[in-house]
């Protein structure tokens, strides 16, 4: 039993995939950075020295503490300083990253589900349904994703009652970003499906009387997972940047649930007054997050599917 | 035209080309020597990978890095050209040495009219103005047999057939009146019906102008028809060099003998074609001694340990310990 497990691990370690991973320092570094950041976000409530959303623990006197310097009133020291309301910047970053990553992952999951489903249908069923789906995709592709996301955010905001807008903002963001990124998934899946569906094994399954949905899930889907994974990783980087951008513009995560973008938006106000740490550290975190996921996606694309280039 | 002079147009001595790779240094051209006289055609034959094209590229100075000339010398009309500066070498290309590539479909820039490609080459190398260059371009096209050259000068490459395009390529190679033309498989990509025309054209133009030709091909038929001398290459080395008649009818090197026995044209009269057992070794694992010994019917111990010397044989040269069988 233990041996079998060991064998599996060894085989996986020796696979082309791992071989390429071990030979690419950029991939290793990106993976480590991304993993650290994700862990930090997931474990934020345990790691963070303060809870920035609990008004009871905040002390306005701690406001504008510089990093690593004792506050002049309270004598408390904060690694990365505090913002105007005395919130610990390190803690707000951890919690902000939680929101950034949550929106990012959820938006990609949504885009992937939607795109893969529509792509399978467009490729397998074809006909006017497929044509319609791809026409919509084409029209949407004419516009940059961020613009589509903004527009959907604006429309969805119009649908939500005013007093619930802040609470709903995160979900609206997920839907808006997700809807702006489904097209890539749909296109790749449709292309692969059209190739696969004419292969003998699919024809055989069809002759055996399998239902279309079953054929799609069991036979076609596994064949398109590689490219889908690549697109998902690249989309994650895009989604994180899109979320940060929308929040920075004030049309994303609300101040009550600040994401990294919101934190940068808040910090911009202190750029001129000299409190550089309020904006610098969230910016560095965002950059590290986006860059590491992007580089990881680049590497995955090279390994899994050179044709996607 | 002037009578053939003794002094060769192109003289290659002990030319070696090396490519440093991860598996070590490869030597696609090894200690190669040959001369071409004015107005003469030297055919260079060999299997693909024998180093023919690499030799042509080395002569015109177009080796793709990291490939580079690692030894020997190349003289054009007595002047060394293998160690020229980049800019000096560029002035030799096109002006002194013309080159014809294999595929006329890809040798011409699809986005420029053929006339412009001709005039830019003429203006680069000859002291003429734009109008004269234009006239020369039309004349060059007429010479290679493009009908209604003056009207077609502004046509784009895709408006010509494959054979016509190769004529344009030849016009381009010859338009600055070089003394040497390197033709790298000039007919391989063409229809069989057009091949003979192109070869005849190349031959006629060079005879008229006294241009020497280095004709790289794997087609023995083309060699038999065209060349004055032939150099047979094997695994980057010269196997045999001599007047075309001698090499074709009474080859001295075992490889050439095998090659002739396997060529329909040369093996005329014999009952069936024979073949050489095995395949040419890859550059990454050349055998010790004579590179041909694993396939050679007469190989001895000496062949396995020491590279064969190049010696005079059959009116030319051959690189073999046992030229003409057992004699030496």
């Amino acid at each position: 039993m233990a041996n079998a497990f060991k064998d599996t691990v060894i085989r996986a370690w020796k696979s082309d995939f791992m071989w390429s991973f071990r030979r690419t320092p950029v991939a290793i570094a990106s993976f480590v950075v991304a993993l650290l950041l994700i862990m930090g976000a997931v474990l934020a409530p345990l790691i963070a020295p303060h809870n920035p959303f609990d008004p009871a623990t905040l002390n306005l006197m701690n406001g504008f503490s510089a990093p690593m310097e004792p506050n002049q009133f309270t004598g408390e020291t904060f690694w990365l300083g505090t913002d105007d309301q005395g919130r610990d910047v390190f803690s707000t970053i951890l919690f902000g990253m939680r929101i950034s990553l949550f929106v990012g992952f959820a938006a990609v999951a949504f885009a992937m589900t939607l795109g893969v489903t529509l792509g399978l249908i467009a490729g397998y069923v074809g006909g006017w349904v497929g044509a319609l789906i791809m026409r919509i995709a084409d029209v949407q592709l004419t516009f940059p994703g961020i613009l589509v996301a903004m527009l959907i955010f604006g429309i969805a905001k119009g649908f939500t009652p005013i007093d619930q807008r802040d609470e709903m903002a995160i979900w609206v963001l997920i839907i808006a970003i997700g809807l702006s990124e489904w097209v890539q998934f749909a296109r790749v899946v449709r292309g692969a499906t059209m190739v696969e569906k004419n292969k003998e094994y699919v024809q055989a399954a069809r002759l055996n009387g399998r239902r279309s949905a079953g054929i799609m899930l069991r036979h076609i889907l596994p064949n398109v997972l590689g490219p889908v994974l690549v697109i998902a990783t690249i989309s994650l980087a895009l989604a994180i940047i899109a979320e940060a951008t929308l929040s920075f513009l004030g049309v994303g995560a609300p101040p009550t649930q600040p994401s990294l973008g919101t934190l940068i938006r808040i910090g911009q106000g202190f750029l001129f007054s000299g409190e550089w740490w309020i904006i610098l550290f969230p910016s560095i975190t965002l950059l590290a997050l986006a860059l590491s996921v992007n580089l990881l996606g680049d590497w995955l694309r090279d390994v899994l599917n050179p044709r996607l280039r | 035209m002037a009578k053939t002079v003794k002094k060769p147009v192109l003289s290659v001595k002990n030319l070696s080309v090396e490519i440093p790779t991860r598996q070590g240094i490869l030597t696609p051209v090894d200690q190669l020597s040959f001369d071409i006289e004015q107005g003469k055609i030297l055919g260079v034959v060999g299997e693909s990978g024998a180093g023919k094209s690499m030799t042509g590229n080395a002569v015109i100075g177009l080796l793709d890095p990291p490939a580079h000339i690692s030894g020997g010398e190349i003289r054009l009309k007595g002047k060394r050209i293998d160690n020229l500066e980049r800019e000096a070498l560029r002035k030799v290309r096109g002006k002194e040495i013309g080159m014809v590539f294999q595929d006329p479909l890809t040798s011409l820039n699809p986005l420029l009219p053929i006339g412009e490609q001709l005039t830019e080459t003429i203006l680069e190398h000859l002291p003429v103005n734009k109008n004269e260059a234009q006239e020369r371009a039309i004349a060059a096209l007429e010479e290679v047999g493009i009908p209604a050259a003056a009207q077609r000068i502004n046509s784009y490459p895709h408006e010509f057939s494959g054979g016509m395009r190769q004529r344009v390529v030849i016009a381009l190679a010859l338009c600055a009146e070089p003394s040497l033309v390197i033709a790298d498989e000039p007919t391989t990509a063409l229809d069989v019906s057009v091949q003979a025309q192109i070869i005849a054209l190349l031959k006629r133009l060079c005879r008229e102008r006294g241009t020497a030709i280095m004709l790289i091909t794997h087609d023995m038929g083309v060699i038999a028809e065209t060349a004055d001398e032939v150099a047979v290459m094997y695994a980057g080395r010269l196997a045999e060099l001599g007047p075309v008649r001698n090499v074709l009818t009474s080859p001295t090197h075992p490889y050439t003998q095998g090659l002739m026995a396997s060529t329909p044209l040369a093996a005329k009269g014999k009952k069936r074609l024979s073949q050489i057992p095995g395949a040419m070794p890859r550059l990454t694992d050349l055998p010790f001694g004579c590179a041909f010994h694993p396939r050679c019917p007469i190989a001895k111990d000496k062949c396995r340990s020491d590279p064969a010397p190049t010696i005079e044989a059959g009116g030319g040269k051959a690189a073999c310990w046992y030229v003409n069988g057992e004699k030496s």
């Binding site: 613009l147 604006g154 951008t245 004030g250 | 177009l62 011409l108």
Partner: protein, 327 residues
């Protein structure tokens, strides 16, 4: 070629119709503009007056007809938030955005192509490698961070350039330009770099990879074998052959520049339509959103159409065959 152009124009028309439908639906189905304009404290009389003023009391078909009629004439009703005609609000802000987008696009194309060619020719040089590494970071860097970084460096620390606004403008009657005053030009520098940098990176990477591809082609070898100068080989022969794919992407990027101007305009408080749009989203000002959507669609579609026609100018092969067999 004419048939191709007509087909393309027809497709563009369809796209515009679809977008028009989206815009109209926004008018009709999204939220209640009365809610949006009046706060919690409102009287029935207020509501009634506003309904009539905005034409929201009319039956659906009448509103639909009004929208179409208005849209064709560039009339998108009255901004919920500003209480002024949308066309007026947009047209007074459009020059700012167009000037910014134009300057950024020119910067992006010039530097993108130049650096792309440079990195392709000096493929293994240290300078080219450094540029390529930096460009990878550039692609991952969100635009607004670039803007903030530039503000910090050149406005806060060095104090050389203004951090917000458009500077002094000159009124030409129908166009207010910031390109004719010194303060206007100074104010333009940082936003234009911010907006153009990302597109420049993309263009550079594309030109480089296309150029490397072309440099492997036989006709480049042949051009060298004919002894042409490097300058001629690179710029006359190679660059022209990279242009077709580059123009496609560049065309799409020009559209993207107008959209990304939203971000840059917010960072620099640049008084253009992008800033207008982002505020429209924040306050759910539907008429402004719809008008902006239509405006930007017309721009995108026109750019795409121009790009398609440019192919014919560059590639002679397309002039004969009816549709492109190439890329």
């Amino acid at each position: 070629m004419l048939a191709f152009a007509i087909r393309r124009a027809f497709q563009s028309f369809i796209v515009l119709l679809v977008v028009g439908l989206v815009a109209f639906s926004m008018f009709n189905f999204v939220g209640d503009p009365i809610d949006n304009m009046l706060g919690q404290e409102r009287t029935d009389a207020d509501i009634e007056r506003l309904r009539t003023q905005l034409g929201l009391d009319q039956p659906f078909p009448v509103q639909y007809y009004r929208f179409l009629e208005g849209a064709v004439q560039g009339n998108f009703g009255i901004s919920y938030r500003q209480g002024r005609p949308v066309s007026e609000v947009i047209s007074e802000r459009l020059p700012a955005t167009l000037e910014l987008a134009f300057v950024s696009a020119v910067l992006a194309i010039i530097f993108g192509v130049a650096l792309g060619v440079f990195t392709a020719i000096r493929r293994n040089g240290w300078a080219a490698n450094t540029i390529m590494t930096l460009s990878l970071i550039g692609v991952s860097l969100p635009t607004f961070l670039i803007g903030i970084l530039l503000i910090y460096l050149f406005a806060v620390e060095l104090g050389w350039l203004p951090s917000f606004g458009r500077g002094d403008v000159v009124d030409l009657g129908w166009w207010r330009t910031g390109l004719l005053t010194q303060s206007g030009l100074k104010a333009l520098i940082l936003p234009a770099i911010t907006l153009g940098l990302y597109q420049m990176t993309l263009i550079m990477r594309l030109v480089r990879s296309e150029m490397l591809e072309v440099l492997r082609q036989d006709y480049i070898r042949f051009a060298r074998a004919r002894g042409l100068k490097d300058k001629s080989v690179y710029f006359r022969h190679a660059l022209k052959n990279t242009l077709v794919p580059v123009i496609t992407v560049t065309g799409m990027q020009l559209g993207a520049i107008i959209a990304f101007a939203i971000i840059t305009e917010t960072v620099f408080q640049w008084p253009g339509v992008g800033l207008l749009f982002i505020n429209a989203i924040r306050f759910v000002d539907i008429p402004v959103m719809a008008a902006y959507l239509m405006l930007i669609s017309v721009m995108f579609v026109s750019i795409n159409l121009i790009v398609d026609l440019l192919y014919f100018a560059i590639d002679p092969r397309l002039r004969i065959e009816k549709s492109g067999s190439g890329k």
